[in-house]
């Protein structure tokens, strides 16, 4: 079981309030991702749940029981740190065994769980090495192995992939998702990378300056961003946000349209502008369009074979059913 509830939780460091009153409900078995820009309080929130920081006020419940004053080790949660935090002087085997040793689990059971975790994480050949002799991806797996053997109620990950190179990151992302499907244990995953959030999450929590901006499934956030912040944060490349005349004509303060919801043409369309940088990904091409009179830059996605040169005039037509309208307060209209 791993159901976690935050009620009115706040956190201040001295005078500065990092987390204003916040409520959140995480269901058992859910893969929840906290996403937001750097410094928005994601790690702090995770550390509050872990018990590594004391909350300033409010209540944390784990499986219904008040865990606010329970020390970290007793909360039944396992954490994977950004720096992996492996014990450098212990072999991989001893690293993985450490939490079990502290819990006084008998040697045979320890051995069984280590073998099982090592097999699941492809670490069997490395059990007698030191962390210093492993690659980044392997260290990451050891850190996960050390978390798994505790059989925790929930896993907490703090930007676990940010120290890995791009290719490895994609691989580990899949492995962690795979692990979640297999264990069906609650996982809370912190990242500033919205791609990780979109690809892994059952539920995304978008944070800004300690506030929850929106909670929902990846597609909910993509289709119905609650405000301009979420609209700009979720999706890649970013949603175009247009203000002024064009927005007013649509009865909105800000008009949002995703690059993939704009059709392009060389001859006719609702909007036009000059092509700046073109990013060719093969399957798609992204054009950054200037001098549109709408916003500084409008980004559009076109199929890979469409070709415009730098400085060409491009015509763009937004799909009207995909337009997002936001009021002056930034909130979604309709």
């Amino acid at each position: 079981m791993g159901q976690i509830t935050l009620e009115n939780v706040t956190k201040s460091f001295g005078e500065t309030q990092v987390i204003p009153p916040l409520d959140l409900d995480i269901q058992d078995g859910e893969f929840t991702v906290f996403v937001g820009p750097s410094g928005c309080g994601k790690s702090t929130l995770l550390r509050l749940i872990a018990g590594l920081e004391d909350i300033t006020s409010g209540t944390i419940r784990i499986d219904g029981t008040d865990a606010t004053d329970i020390p970290p080790a007793k909360r039944g949660l396992a954490m994977v740190f950004q720096s992996y935090a492996l014990y450098p002087h212990m072999s991989v085997r001893k690293n993985i065994a450490f939490p079990m040793r502290m819990a006084g689990i008998d040697a045979a059971e320890q051995e069984r769980r280590i073998e099982q975790a090592a097999a699941a994480l492809n670490l069997t050949d490395y059990l007698d090495r030191r962390p210093g002799q492993l690659s980044g991806g392997q260290r990451q797996r050891v850190a996960i192995g050390r978390a798994i053997v505790r059989e925790p109620a929930a896993f907490l990950f703090d930007e676990p992939l940010s120290n890995l190179d791009a290719a490895l990151r994609v691989g580990m992302r899949l492995e962690i998702s795979e692990l979640h499907k297999r264990l069906a244990t609650t996982m809370i995953y912190v990242t500033h990378d919205q791609v990780e959030a979109m690809t892994m999450a059952d539920k995304i929590v978008v944070l800004r300056a300690g506030h929850i901006e929106q909670v929902g499934s990846p597609l909910e956030l993509y289709r119905n961003p609650r405000n301009t912040f979420v609209a700009g944060f979720i999706g890649s490349p970013k949603m175009n946000l247009i203000e002024g005349e064009e927005a007013a004509r649509n009865d909105a303060h800000t008009l949002g349209i995703r690059p993939e919801h704009i059709d392009v043409s060389a001859t006719e369309g609702a909007w036009h502008g000059k092509v700046g940088v073109a990013e060719h990904l093969g399957s798609d091409t992204f054009f950054h369009v200037h001098e549109t009179g709408l916003a500084e830059t409008i980004t559009v996605r076109a199929p890979g074979e469409v070709n415009f040169r730098h400085g060409d005039t491009i015509y763009m037509t937004p799909r009207s059913e995909q337009l997002h309208r936001f009021g002056a307060d930034g909130l979604r209209i309709g």
Partner: protein, 287 residues
């Protein structure tokens, strides 16, 4: 340092230092070896020629030799134990955020800047003096008889004085080591269910092992040669005669340079044995 040119340039530039250092070490070493094989009594006939291994045999068979060795080792081990145990604890304490941290750190390091002779004299006269010393006052305040530290418990007193001098060094090295301990490792251990003590023994202490090794090696080198502290406190009486003090007595008090030099060679051998032995023990941590 990869190309041939840069390597030979490096050699040329290092040569003066190497030659100077070699001369610095080799000349006294060779002179010691030379004198150790001769009968050389400056006040009783001067250099009287070769004696073979006589000096070596006499030095070892003298009744003061083995007691001097054991005194040396007791002093060494006592001071190492105290400085490392207290050094680790002090380093952990100083690593905690507290008010006036900078001033406290300077105070802790201060004893290291006091010359050995001075600190030994301060201890002897201001702390350990049986009638006027601070410790005597303290003992009497609690109704106990004051202790004549330097004659009743001479080795303990000596170990205290020397430890007081070397504790700052150990603390300083261990403090820098503790500051480099990754906070997330400690938090990971906390989440893994390790108690404060387990975290100390399983995480902090292994992290410190390299620094402890360095402290042991450097202190050993200096502690084997301790002299001033003994000279100004007990003058080698009450069983505080270490090997280096014995050599001093042979050369200056007995005016026998040959015999003293033989003792010097034994001291070199002892220092090397101890150093190799210690490196073996702690070398396992240095990977």
């Amino acid at each position: 340092m990869a190309t041939k040119a840069s390597r030979s340039a490096a050699r040329v530039m290092m040569a003066p230092a190497v030659v100077l250092l070699l001369g610095w070490m080799l000349v006294p070493l060779i002179m010691t070896l030379w004198f150790s094989f001769r009968t050389y009594l400056p006040l009783r006939g001067g250099d009287q020629g070769w004696t073979g291994f006589d000096n070596y045999v006499r030095f070892v068979t003298s009744s003061s030799f083995w007691p001097a060795i054991s005194t040396t080792l007791v002093l060494l081990i006592g001071v190492l134990a105290i400085t490392i145990i207290c050094g680790v604890l002090l380093a952990i304490l100083l690593d905690q955020p507290m008010w006036g941290q900078g001033a406290v750190r300077i105070l802790v390091i201060a004893p290291f800047f006091v010359m050995p002779t001075v600190s030994a004299l301060v201890w002897k006269n201001m702390f350990m003096d049986p009638t006027n010393g601070l410790l005597a006052h303290l003992w009497r305040f609690f109704g106990a008889d004051s202790v004549s530290w330097l004659s009743d418990v001479p080795m303990l007193s000596l170990i205290m004085i020397v430890s007081w001098q070397w504790l700052p060094f150990a603390t300083l090295i261990l403090l820098t080591a503790i500051q480099s301990l990754d906070g997330e490792q400690m938090e990971a251990a906390e989440m893994d269910g390790a108690s404060v003590l387990s975290r100390f023994f399983y995480i902090a202490l292994p992290h410190l092992s390299r620094a402890i090794t360095i402290v042991i090696l450097i202190q050993t080198i200096f502690l084997l040669a301790i002299f001033a502290e003994i000279f100004v406190t007990t003058g080698g009486a009450f069983g505080t005669r270490t090997l280096s003090y014995l050599i001093f007595q042979r050369v200056l008090e007995s005016q026998n340079i040959g015999l003293g030099s033989a003792g010097g060679v034994y001291a070199i051998i002892l220092a090397n044995i101890v150093a190799i032995f210690l490196m073996r023990i702690v070398g396992k941590n240095l990977d």
